[in-house]
């Protein structure tokens, strides 16, 4: 626990009392039904979320005035078992416009029974958000410390 694991993936899972297909659909097509209401990058009143169900599709928020805010790209779409999307959001809930600086989220849906699904989520490549995290980790042990990586990190946080 004392290693500098700032860029290790975030992993979590949950057991859902629902069939695999249903779990997959709710996670993707019906994302708006569970996504935290206060976690939207869109400005203005939210009308809905759209998950374009194909590789290369987008996930976006739609406002009542018709404007859209795309915050993810679908990288893998394998119903009902797996979906991967980019995370084009920085930690201040602003859009990250550089895809090289986006992390990604993989979600796997594993049928435990016909009516029960284990959903495993991995949010990885966090270091891409700023060279900060990775180079900071490397810099910890170096004599002149944190310099450039930190600057990138701070800039990333500042948006």
């Amino acid at each position: 626990m004392s290693t500098q694991s700032v860029a290790s993936p975030v992993r979590t899972s949950i057991l859902v009392e629902a069939p695999q297909k249903r779990a997959f659909e709710v996670f993707t097509a019906d994302m708006a039904s569970w996504w935290p209401a206060d976690k939207h990058v869109l400005e203005g009143e939210l009308a809905g979320m759209v998950f374009e169900p194909r590789v290369g599709g987008r996930i976006y928020d739609r406002a009542v005035d018709g404007s859209e805010c795309s915050w993810a790209r679908v990288l893998a779409y394998e119903p009902p078992s797996r979906v991967v999307f980019s995370w084009d959001i920085d930690l201040r809930w602003q859009i990250e416009t550089d895809p090289e600086r986006a992390s990604e989220v993989e979600v796997r849906f594993i049928a435990e029974t016909d009516a029960r699904t284990r959903v495993e989520l991995e949010h990885r490549a966090l270091e891409r958000h700023g060279e900060g995290w990775e180079s900071m980790r490397d810099a910890v042990g170096s004599p002149n410390g944190w310099g450039d990586g930190l600057r990138a990190f701070a800039a990333y946080l500042a948006g």
């Binding site: 004392s2 700032v6 975030v10 569970w34 930690l91 201040r92 966090l126 930190l150 701070a154």
Partner: protein, 128 residues
């Protein structure tokens, strides 16, 4: 967000375990680094451990202002301080960065719990 009034000794070294499940900690990190001057203070401290006086000498802000910025950074867990002779030296607390990871961890745990609730509802009779 006033938990930095605690014992001075506790802040000298990194905590044994990164603070997980604490969205407030992450929020404090973002708030702390949202101010350009404070970010500058943080970068300088991260580049080289130093005292309030040294920082104030390098920056176009008063010594009390530097102290205040350091206080906020310390509250957010980004810097820690410790005595060096008669001075107090501030340095970056690398564990502070784990807050960011903890933030996402917290976000997904919360979100998946909501997802579970939604998925376990009877499907709506909507057109396919």
């Amino acid at each position: 967000m006033t938990y930095a009034q605690g014992p001075e000794k506790a802040s000298a070294g990194p905590p044994g375990r990164p603070v997980a499940d604490q969205p407030l900690a992450a929020a404090a990190v973002f708030a702390a680094l949202g101010d350009p001057t404070r970010r500058e203070v943080f970068e300088r401290v991260a580049a080289r451990p130093q005292s309030v006086g040294e920082l104030a000498g390098e920056l176009p802000v008063s010594r009390p202002a530097v102290s205040q910025h350091l206080r906020v950074l310390k509250d957010a867990g980004l810097v820690s301080d410790g005595p060096a002779g008669t001075r107090r030296i501030y340095r970056m607390n690398p564990q502070g960065l784990d807050h960011l990871r903890a933030y996402l961890d917290h976000f997904w745990n919360q979100s998946l719990a909501a997802f579970k609730t939604a998925a376990e509802q009877p499907p709506k009779e909507s057109r396919k």
